[in-house]
Symmetry: C2
Subunit: 508 residues, 2 copies
């Protein structure tokens, strides 16, 4: 069977990923090191993600704000562990003017900043400084803030959506009177992310706590949602951190408690980024391109009229416009269906394959014969071929199609989730009992999935040794799933008594 992309997942997963990004018009290289241009179809998906996650962030009581892009170096100097974690990858603004010199533009030596500014890699420090102004008394707590912003981390090796120098994200920041409340918030947002990933992105995840070596710099506890890509690797798709008093001590976020004593606030932070789009691609893409879950598709239905440059085209376009209006009057997921009538003057089969590669959930082709019969020809992107391996285009009465559309879109959404869920469940092994077997499991297959194993939760040097051992096998600790099996027996790394179970896998 010939496919729309020039490379299949089986042949070369990394090249296939780039092909989808490019052929689905998601993004492209910008000419600026490590930065991409997010094109309309990619950005349209991000807008849908933003809108739906933002509603949930607000529903859980948070308000949006905006904080400065630039952070003075002195803000970072206050928290050693945090700066150690980010110093290696920070873009630094040192001048505020350019001048011409020998026909070239150069930074003006007379416009050097007294204190260089960092382009934010994350905003704990600058938001913490604001919290210290806002919080005086227990009555001012909790503070529940979110911002949608761009951040910059100077990565040496970049891949579109997965790891770019600049990326877009939301970062939530909260301050609370007690550790219990802050921990509850951390887990609440982890659960918001899990539901967003599963219900909206149709991407099943494992939510759990990161081991010590994978914690956010400055965090007391870091939680993540981990998704399994089609090559078996793990993608960390969102994180939620309980920060304790690390940042409130550094930024002086103090309040008078109800007994009149001064206390440090307990803070959290949590974020999801454009990386989620990379996860969507590697979860729902196939060898014909992308399939976008209907809840995220900028256009859930695309109508392609088979224009023939004849006098009949006008009637065909009018017929299609009527259908588009009927579709718009339908609801899916409690919102009007998003439908596009593709009027472009291009060959209909090219347009069809363009939308297949982009992954519009439902593609409706309408030719003269369809119009004459009051019909439409319907392609469901998640079931492109029939059992005989032919393109599965179903001729349907126009009224039946429109009446069934809402259910069809819901079915595509849940079917994409089910497929991904089955893949995840089938590819986590839970019966590996020693380190050799773990090594063997990951060597045995090019796309081995993950292993959930007993471990003793080592710390310090003992943990370092485990991490080194794994690194030599290109493996990482993902997280300790909140719904892992109970620990039993001994740690497969240290031989000590196991206290919990940890996920091991290759990762992005």
């Amino acid at each position: 069977m010939k496919h729309a992309l020039s490379v299949t997942r089986e042949q070369d997963f990394a090249a296939w990923y780039q092909a989808v990004v490019s052929e689905a018009d998601m993004a492209e290289e910008s000419g600026v090191r490590g930065c991409m241009v997010i094109r309309p179809w990619g950005y349209g998906i991000w807008e849908q993600m933003q809108r739906q996650l933002d509603a949930e962030i607000k529903r859980t009581g948070h308000e949006n704000c905006y904080f400065p892009l630039f952070i003075p170096l002195s803000y970072f100097e206050k928290e050693a562990e945090h700066v150690d974690g980010f110093a290696k990858e920070m873009a630094v603004v040192t001048h505020h003017r350019l001048i011409q010199k020998d026909g070239r533009l150069v930074p003006d030596p007379d416009a050097k900043l007294e204190e260089p500014l960092v382009v934010r890699p994350t905003s704990e420090t600058v938001i913490g400084a604001a919290f210290s102004r806002w919080v005086q008394s227990w009555r001012d707590l909790p503070v529940l803030i979110n911002q949608w912003a761009n951040v910059v981390r100077w990565e040496m090796r970049t891949r579109m959506f997965l790891r770019t120098t600049e990326f877009l994200w939301q970062e939530g920041h909260t301050a609370h009177a007690t550790e219990a409340e802050a921990r509850e918030e951390t887990l609440r947002m982890l659960e918001v992310y899990r539901r967003f990933a599963e219900d909206i992105v149709a991407m099943p995840v494992v939510a759990g706590e990161k081991p010590e070596n994978e914690r956010f710099p400055g965090a007391v506890s870091t939680y993540s949602i981990e998704a399994m890509m089609q090559d078996g690797k793990a993608l960390q798709a969102g994180t939620s951190h309980f920060l304790g008093t690390t940042f409130s001590a550094a930024q002086n976020i103090r309040f008078q408690n109800s007994e009149g004593a001064q206390e440090l606030a307990q803070t959290t932070s949590w974020g999801v980024s454009t990386r989620m789009i990379g996860g969507l691609i590697m979860t729902h893409g196939d060898d014909d391109g992308l399939c976008v879950p209907p809840r995220l598709a900028p256009w859930q239905v695309v109508i392609v009229p088979m224009l023939r440059d004849t006098a009949e085209d006008d009637a065909l376009l009018a017929y299609c416009a009527e259908i588009a209006r009927e579709i718009e009057a339908q609801d899916a997921f409690r919102e009007p269906v998003r439908v596009l009538l593709d009027r472009k003057a291009a060959k209909a089969t090219n347009k069809r394959w363009g939308w297949v590669k982009k992954g519009a959930p439902v593609i409706v082709e309408v030719g003269g014969r369809d119009m004459a019969g009051g019909n439409v020809s319907v392609i469901r992107r998640d079931r492109l071929y029939n059992e005989a391996g032919k393109l599965d285009s179903a001729v349907m009465a126009r009224g039946d199609f429109v009446a069934g559309l809402s259910a069809q879109l819901a079915d595509i959404q849940s079917s994409l989730y089910r497929t991904a869920r089955e893949r995840l469940d089938a590819n986590i092994v839970r019966d590996i009992l020693d380190a050799d077997a773990l090594s063997a499991f990951f060597e045995a297959s090019p796309r081995p999935g993950w292993a959930e194993v007993n471990w003793s939760k080592p710390t310090g040097a003992e943990l370092d040794a485990v991490v080194e051992w794994l690194k030599a096998r290109k493996l990482t600790l993902r997280n300790v799933p909140v719904d892992a099996l109970p620990a039993s027996g001994t740690c497969i790394f240290t031989g000590n008594v196991a206290v919990e179970r940890v996920l091991v896998g290759r990762s992005y």
Copy 2:
């Protein structure tokens, strides 16, 4: 009459502006030079602006994208006039790593960028580079793109919302096959901005073409909408540029036309920023704070229960929650009414004045007596005091209030617009016929408004002389209104034959 702010517009307009920004919880100093923190009420207004302007930008055929924050110096070197316009105020990234030195963080000398990067002051150059990849044939045109982004211009004197080092905006960028089409687009977006300012922000504006000295660097024609603040000064609230082939020549945006010949594309750009919020404040603020037009209010109705820390509070809150549900079921401007029940444990009069200062359009107070009578006490923010100078709080039957709410919000919106329109119309003089009279007009009053005068549209040195003459009087040329009176007689500056009429005024 005592007012909620510590300073009135009459006493000190600039101090009054800062008081509104601060007392209405719109924004605050961030501690980072020239950058502000936009707080929830200010950012909530921006979100409403974004949502409604974005819908109009999409309705007119544009798609959102995202382009890099960083622009290599070499991109700017290609267009001399453009770089001259921005070089003096560009933040420059020169390093990509920090190290510790003598206990301080410093840029790592070993991590100096080969080519420094500018933090975008505007994106014509980097978007032009993308257009040159996207456009090959006339079939690829028009390209109609918009992005919502942060930009940085290193301003020496900053004022919150009006002129900040970093600000938020949308920037539209389009490429067309013909000059006529590009000029039509430039004017289409000018009209979108005019309607947005007037219908949504309730801020009347004068749309027109900027004189040569006020053009965007690299533009062939620049158009603006100019709003009159309550101190009579002009605020440029949005601009739309016809760029001709300036950027397509610099960035090589070429296409094969339908006859097979190579041509340069004609481009446009247009933008509206968080500055609009400054315009909103200085249009609709009064000595008690802000009044937000209902179409932009994050909460259109705020319910303040008069809690008394007694057992009756629960019943009162339940009564208020019922009313809130009834209000949510109402529509205003074809959307559900946005209502907040303010449950905060604070003194009811403090809460009332907090919402007055923030400018919630309708404030509903509910006490025990209101509940007993099935009533509510309603304050309309745009008519805070009655003729006797007392707070105008009207007791209404709850059902009557809810049933009339949609009309009431519409009335507040149009009444705010009408007041501002009358002020604008009353404060443009059109009968000044010589330069001395112009001088005298602006000297005669501390808040003189604008003058629309005949001029000969001078260029080059002749224009420079006019601009200098005006500058000495703290005056600027605003724009040549699209609906100005016809020119007649001689130019008041040059004595030559007048060809059009130009607006003169003080400005932000």
